[in-house]
């Protein structure tokens, strides 16, 4: 398979994740859609790493996984905190910071 296929698949997955962020209202599912986009980026990084014949892109993808894990931990902590305060778990209702 040529690199183009992987890159086009990665673009398709990224667009899916971006539409998910636009459609969904639940913060948990929005975090899942962020995962989709980060994973699409990882796929592109690893495909380009294979194309160049150099493993440094894979190291980059591993660091992206670490950052994604941190983002998940903090995001889920926020969701638990929101739930404990009996606030609605809906990003449209959480608009206190809006001017």
């Amino acid at each position: 398979m040529t690199t183009e296929w992987y890159i086009v698949l990665s673009a398709l997955l990224f667009a899916t994740g971006a539409s998910g962020v636009l459609i969904r209202r639940s913060p948990v599912v929005i975090l899942l859609c962020l995962e989709l986009m980060l994973n699409a980026g990882n796929l592109a990084l690893i495909a380009f790493s294979r194309m160049v014949g150099n493993e440094e892109g894979q190291v980059f993808a591993l660091i992206v996984m670490v950052v994604a894990a941190c983002e998940v931990v903090v995001g889920l902590g926020l969701i638990v905190a929101i739930f404990r305060r009996r606030l609605p778990l809906n990003v449209d209702d959480l608009r206190e910071l809006r001017g």
Partner: protein
Amino acid sequence: MEEVVFFVAALGALGGAIAVIALRNPFYSVLALVVHLFSLAALFLLLQAEFAAAAQIVVYAGAVMVLYVFVVAYVGGVEEPTWEPIPGQRLLAPLLGLALFVELSIAVLGSSLAALGTGGPEVEAGFGTPEAIGRLLLEKFLVPFEAASLLLLLATVGAVVLAARRKKAGAAA
């Protein structure tokens, strides 16, 4: 053979991604993401990124997804209202996603990178093994590696502070 594996894994990844955004129950969305992650690990194996594939399954499909399942079980299935704050949001968003895909495809395929149409150069047998990645991480990329571990520690402490149960209103978190 390679083509068959690629298309099966690509269908799994894409189907999982669409199921994540289409299923109404967050619990099913998490399970769909697990399917997506396993398919991506198969694609990583096709690209000879063995260590990245193993990390994908162990870290993502293992640890991170368990975290998601726990939080979804704790929070409970929250039904999303069908009311739309922006009229036509459900129709507009996929159109914007499609526009993004077309734009990304034009940007990549129009970049006239000559190597895009090839499968990449022949690589030696040790490409992408834990040994090769470990050498890179501990020799060339030692500072990013340590920064990543520090970031993980900070995120853990932050999550504990955020989600800890407050004992009294005035007490420290």
